[in-house]
Structure formats: structure tokens, C-alpha cells
């Protein structure tokens, strides 16, 4: 569905993407993780034909991104990091504009507003919506056209956990319907929860990629199990036969409260690979 090979892009004298390569099969959620300024938005712009690139090749829907036609674009939904909604117009009128551009039946407008939980706000001007509702309005604009591929640029940044959860539900629902989703985020929990595959992007270079759990397993150097006992004590055990015997013994005594693996998170993997945090403090 999306194929990238050796994408390189520079702005004046600064190289922002270097040799980016990956394949995203149909119906998968692909997460591009990286801190601010890593080149995530630039890559989305390249893959959606908004920005030219210096070297490499990129295909989407079996088409070269340099030559996307109007019909191809109708199969691609894009949600960028800025809202891009008409603030004085109602939610309904905002969607109506795009329904008319894409030739979507008018009934789909209310259906989509319902899908994102904005049916009660259909007549409200976009200026009166909260940040979370604006994100949902943007998602509605993307989903209304029933695209085959969806690009979401940091869809949950700055939102409260409840709204984040609602948006995750909507994204997963689209995946169930066969959409291929390209998601950028610097929220590793979000990536681990939603994505089939992730790529870790740092300073324009993909430093690792794979399924989130596979990456975490690969960087599990400690290979330890932590037992939290009913006494409140934590016991760290290495992966060994002796540890298995110890666990059996403690279980027989019913002393164990919880058992934890010591696998790293995507955040710690990223830190190990790059020396940077995904969500860097200002």
C-alpha cells in the first residue's frame, strides 16, 4: 500500500530525511515515532505529494507519489497537525464543503459526525469547539470520504486521556474496516497500543523498526522478572532455572502479589538508540 525506498530530503543546507525505507501492507497501522523536528511531518508531506524530495522513490496505492492524480488523492485522507477548519462555519458546513468537493452524498455528513461523536454539535460554529472536538472534526473530514489510506499527524497531541481514548477507538474502528493508517506520534504508549509496526525516527534517520513488542523484546538486555510480594517487597530474578524454582516456591506459599517482566518500553529503546527522549522537555 505504501512503499518508501531511500527517501532523502534537504532544506537548503540541512538534511531532514536520509535514506528512509519501509513498506506498509494493506490494513495496517504504521507508527512513525520521533521527537519534534525529527522529520515526521516532512515525510507525510512527501508521501502525500505535497512536497518534492531529492532522492529515492515513494509509492502509494501502487502510484508514484510524484504523479498522484485527482482520483488517487480521493483515496487518501490527511489530517495534519494544524486544524485547518473554518472557524465561523458550523461543523456541518465544514464537512459539507469537502462532501461537495469529493462528491460524497450529504447523508454521509451526519453519519460521520455521529461516528466521531459530534452529532449534537453539528450546528455549532467550529470556533466554539474544544481542542478535542476540533481534532474529531478533522477526523470526520478525513473519514467522510472513506479513504483507503489515512495519514494522521500527531492526532492526540495535547489532548486529555479521555479524548485520546475516544480517538484511539475511532482509529481502531477504521482499521477494522480495512484502512491503512500512517500515524506519527511522540507518544510511545499510543504507538504501542495502536500500531502493528513502528519506525523510530531520529534526526531524519530510521534507527529501528518492527512490531512494538518485537522491538521491546529485542532491547530486553536485562532479562529479569520482578516479583512484587504481598509483604510489599520487590524481588528481581534473572531468567534461569533457579529463578523458576524460586517463583514456584513463592507461589506455593501464596506470597506473590504481581509478576512483572522487565522489557523496556519504546521510550527507553529510543533513549538507548539515540540518547534522546521521544517527548523532550522544552
Amino acid at each position: 500500500m505504501i512503499q518508501c525506498s531511500g527517501i532523502t530530503k534537504s532544506f537548503t543546507d540541512k538534511k531532514v530525511l536520509s535514506g528512509i525505507s519501509f513498506d506498509i501492507p494493506d490494513g495496517q497501522i504504521f507508527g512513525l515515532l520521533g521527537p519534534s523536528g525529527a522529520g515526521k511531518t516532512t515525510l507525510i508531506k512527501i508521501l502525500t505529494g505535497q512536497l518534492s524530495f531529492d532522492d529515492g522513490s515513494a509509492m502509494i496505492l501502487q502510484r508514484n507519489v510524484r504523479h498522484l492524480s485527482g482520483e488517487d488523492r480521493k483515496k487518501i485522507g490527511i489530517m495534519m497537525d494544524q486544524f485547518g477548519v473554518y472557524e465561523r462555519l458550523s461543523c456541518y458546513d465544514n464537512l459539507k464543503i469537502y462532501a461537495e468537493i469529493y462528491g460524497v452524498p450529504k447523508e454521509r455528513i451526519m453519519e460521520t459526525l455521529k461516528l466521531v461523536g459530534l452529532e449534537d454539535s453539528a450546528k455549532k460554529p467550529a470556533s466554539s469547539l474544544s481542542k478535542g472536538m476540533l481534532v474529531r472534526l478533522q477526523l470526520a473530514r478525513v473519514f467522510m470520504i472513506s479513504p483507503d489510506v489515512i495519514f494522521l499527524d500527531e492526532p492526540t497531541t495535547g489532548l486529555d486521556p479521555v479524548t485520546q481514548k475516544q480517538i484511539h477507538r475511532i482509529i481502531m474502528d477504521k482499521k477494522k474496516h480495512g484502512c491503512t493508517i500512517f500515524l506519527t506520534t511522540h507518544n510511545m504508549e499510543e504507538a504501542a497500543k495502536l500500531c502493528d509496526t513502528v519506525a523510530l525516527l531520529n534526526e531524519g534517520v530510521i534507527v529501528d523498526r518492527g512490531a512494538p513488542e518485537e522491538i521491546c523484546r529485542r532491547f530486553n538486555h536485562q532479562k529479569k522478572i520482578v516479583l512484587h510480594l504481598k509483604t510489599g517487597e520487590d524481588v528481581e530474578l534473572p531468567h534461569s532455572k533457579e529463578s523458576a524454582d524460586k517463583i514456584r516456591e513463592l507461589m506455593e506459599k501464596e506470597s506473590i502479589e504481581t509478576i512483572h517482566s522487565s522489557e523496556p518500553t519504546l521510550e527507553t529503546v529510543f533513549l538507548e538508540l539515540t540518547g534522546r527522549k521521544l517527548e523532550e522537555e522544552d
Binding site: 485527482g70 488523492r73 494544524q82 485547518g84 473554518y86 464543503i97
Partner: protein, 228 residues
């Protein structure tokens, strides 16, 4: 064609919610009608206010409306979303330009109620044609401006020059010489005569040159900056 119509309809819906554009459109027609009805000193030429304000109206409203709409769409990122949705830049500019022309002609129609019915076709023709030049200049400024604030400051300078030159030319010969190269001055002169026989070659050439310059500037600005 569909996309142009969508852009046009979007702007129509926005008209009554966008107070700054609405004010631009109704201000001069209202002032004109009030002045024509209430302020009539002895010896004042017929339709003095209509002619004077019309030249200012055509130099100001289409230009500032075009500029502010484009600048706002750039700043709020709605323009990028439209362009990503397969709306071509020329479709967008045509839709916005058509909208600005239509609302301007609506205001012009209101102003035309102050003049004799026989003169109305000539008046509408001159205003309609010269509005196209202002729209092209407004598009240049809108494309060039980074945001609404810079659009306002850049647009105001051009607008003041175009709309006030004809009035100032009446009081100063030096300004009149400069104003002779600006289309709004010739619009004013043609409206003074208010007759098809008043169409003179030099005036037509100045308006044509102004139109060509505006379109050339627009193309140069578009090639340099695009709509992003």
C-alpha cells in the same frame, strides 16, 4: 467547475459571519446613499458623492476583501487542506475572485440607485471591469503576505494609494499627474462623464496597462510563492 462553485458557496455562507468583509461591502454604498440624500450644498455637481465614492470603493473593497480572505485561509491552514483535497490553485482563486466580484457588484448595484437609470449600464460596466484589476492586485498582496497582519498592512498601503489618489488629484496638480497613471483616476474621470462617449483612448490604455501589470504581478507572485 464544481470546485469553483464549492469555494464560491463557502464564501457566500461565510459572508454574514465575516463582519470585516461585510463591512467592506456595505460601508461605501451606505455612506453614498446617506450623503446623496442628506448633504446637497448648492452648486454641487449631480451625483458628486456617488462618483467620488465609487472610485474609492473600486480601489478598496475588492482589493482588501481578496487580500484578507487569502491571508486568513493561509494563516488558518484551511487553504492547504483545500489544496490537499484536489482543489487546484486556479480553481480556488477563481472561486474567491468570483465571490468578491459578485459581492462588490451587489454593493455597486446599491450605489447605482443614486444615479439616473439611463446611466446605470455604463456605471456597472466601468465598475465591474475595474473591479477585476483590483481583485488581481488583491490576489497579489494575499499571495505575498505571510499572515493576516502583514496582509492588512501591505493591502492598506496599496488600497490607500488606489482609492484616495483620485480624490487628492482634485486638489493638487502634482498628485494629479501621478494619478493619471492609475486606473482608479480614469475610472473617476469616466464616471464624471457617465457616458459611453466618455470612453477615451488614453483612459482605456491606462486601464489596460494597469490590468496587464496587475495580472503580470499576480503571475510573478504566484510563481514565486504559490499558495502555501
Amino acid at each position: 467547475m464544481n470546485n469553483i462553485l464549492v469555494i464560491f458557496k463557502k464564501q457566500i455562507i461565510d459572508t454574514f459571519k465575516n463582519k470585516s468583509i461585510l463591512l467592506q461591502v456595505i460601508l461605501y454604498p451606505v455612506i453614498t446613499l446617506v450623503m446623496e440624500a442628506l448633504v446637497r450644498p448648492e452648486g454641487m455637481p449631480a451625483h458628486y458623492y456617488t462618483k467620488m465614492f465609487s472610485a474609492m470603493y473600486v480601489g478598496m473593497t475588492p482589493l482588501i476583501s481578496m487580500t484578507s480572505i487569502i491571508a486568513e485561509e493561509k494563516e488558518k491552514n484551511t487553504l492547504r487542506v483545500l489544496l490537499m483535497s484536489n482543489v487546484k490553485p486556479w480553481q480556488y482563486l477563481t472561486g474567491i475572485g468570483a465571490y468578491v466580484w459578485v459581492i462588490f457588484m451587489f454593493g455597486t448595484g446599491v450605489m447605482a440607485t443614486a444615479i439616473e437609470p439611463a446611466h446605470i449600464p455604463f456605471y456597472l460596466l466601468i465598475m465591474g471591469l475595474s473591479a477585476i484589476v483590483s481583485i488581481a492586485i488583491g490576489a497579489c498582496v494575499g499571495i505575498n503576505a505571510k499572515n493576516q497582519m502583514s496582509a492588512t498592512s501591505q493591502g492598506s498601503m496599496v488600497m490607500l494609494m488606489l482609492s484616495f489618489l483620485p480624490m487628492l488629484a482634485m486638489f493638487n496638480d502634482g498628485i494629479a499627474k501621478v494619478a493619471n497613471f492609475v486606473y482608479t483616476q480614469h475610472v473617476r474621470a469616466m464616471l464624471d462623464e457617465m457616458s459611453f462617449s466618455a470612453l477615451k483612448l488614453d483612459g482605456a490604455i491606462i486601464v489596460a496597462v494597469n490590468t496587464i501589470l496587475a495580472v503580470a504581478l499576480f503571475i510573478a507572485a504566484y510563481r514565486k510563492k504559490g499558495l502555501e
